[in-house]
Symmetry: C2
Amino acid sequence: MRVRTAVEKLSYIPQTAARHLAQGKTQTIGLVFPDVSNDFFSPLLRSITDSATEAGYDLFIAIRRQGQTSRVQRSTLGKQNTDGLLVFDQSIDEGELRRLHAARFPVVLLYRSAPEGMAFPCVRIENRSGARQITDHLIEQHGRRQIAFLRGPAGNEDSLLREQGYREALAAHGIPFSASPIGDGEFYEGPARATVARWLAEGLEFDAIFAGDDGSASGALAALVEAGKHVPQDVSLVGFDDAPVARYLNPQLTTVRAPSDDVGREAIRQLMRLIETGAADSITVLPTELVIRQSCGCPVNT
Amino acid sequence: MRVRTAVEKLSYIPQTAARHLAQGKTQTIGLVFPDVSNDFFSPLLRSITDSATEAGYDLFIAIRRQGQTSRVQRSTLGKQNTDGLLVFDQSIDEGELRRLHAARFPVVLLYRSAPEGMAFPCVRIENRSGARQITDHLIEQHGRRQIAFLRGPAGNEDSLLREQGYREALAAHGIPFSASPIGDGEFYEGPARATVARWLAEGLEFDAIFAGDDGSASGALAALVEAGKHVPQDVSLVGFDDAPVARYLNPQLTTVRAPSDDVGREAIRQLMRLIETGAADSITVLPTELVIRQSCGCPVNT
DNA sequence: CTGTTAGCGCATTCAC
DNA sequence: GTGAATGCGCTAACAG
């Protein structure tokens, strides 16, 4: 009919508020991020915006500091204003999650699994086997036996699983845990640097460091260099994530690739499915992959 | 009245779509980011979410790749769905800006000034004098005379102004430009590293590098270290932004502090004012500040 | 296939 | 002070 074509011509833009009200949907999904500035945050956000746009959804964003829940944020992210939520890591507490679950509100969890009894879909990455592999590599290929570990933030699931994989590798090779320091890296350069500097000052011995993520690896590297240690000759160093920074360290960082683009894409896919069909029981664990560079001690062309 | 208290009790959450429709406002502001993963992106986003939340506004987010404008994004960010826009750098093109201006839609520009004839409020930082100061410092305090410069992305205003300040300093000290290489750093570690590595391979001479931002400084550092150059003994290195990474490089990076938190806060303030009063002619240029660390050659306790 | 109408949930206005 | 009516702009259901 004629109206159709006229509409096209005039570049008319419908008012979403009215549209939302009329159809009872908002075509909007909410993102809840913790207050971190991880290096992979940015590519992740991009893959999410891309996927969401493609699916015809808009994005709301909220940054939650640890444990903090402002009233405004609670109301704006509720079921009244978004069709679903993407929740990162620890960015909302269990009580709030429970409320959302009770309300059957579509929520997909990223980089964490669902608490007991709440069947939210999750998109995670394979932490344990990745950590196991890279630790095995240090032991088997480079003969390291005193491998320090830098933990992530308290309660961070990725960090716990990476530590499990690390411990598995040690155990499988008969290496006692007590031989190597374990400390806090917080998935940040600063704390990791401080921890490693302290280890060195205290004279703790280690011939390798497995940093819980690439950010803390770069902090560890800084502390080692500062103390005059050579990487990888004196100390092998490896990380996790394959964030952009991994390639720019010197030596380039051996790490485990975590496909954050895929995480974002898959999360949107899951959320769409959840919104449309209500099917909620899917858990996706994306595979990770060992990325050999030079910081472990491997030659350039391996 | 009784209803009021009952409402409080029941944790009733109003439906924004209906509210927006009724009052003709959306209480939402849109963020348009370019597709970059600068290190200061994250603190900036945080200060924006904090300020916006405090002002009672929600946030829409869109990431725009260079020059790309999807239909969906255009419609969702238009005047129909947000009360105002925060536009970063080059994230939307001039034609779209012109449309917004013609429609008198509230827009605040971040890290860029308004195109000729469009009186958008802008929030920027003092680039030129900061660049001038840090270059002066290299010349006057450390006797450097062959100072290379790493540019940001093409068309980036911050980069242009920083280059101006740099050239001013050279001119003021009677140093010819031709003595020092100028190349692309793209405000990224990778390209900066490649550029500096190329300079070194070609045998170009320089005794200092002024990197356009801290990201490219870290790339430059990697290239220098890889080539066996010592910083700051062989080559002084300075950056711009005082991003988190500056403190974690070794040696710690001398740089210019750009207060990204203040930029976010001020941008929201301006946008609120614009939305409420329509006053649009304010240009804010936030002061920057020299931050002396060790990469320039200064001792630890200066 | 086209044109008309009711109603989404709220804020605003007006009468009480 | 409180309560009832109107309409925001759109979609869906309906009647023609």
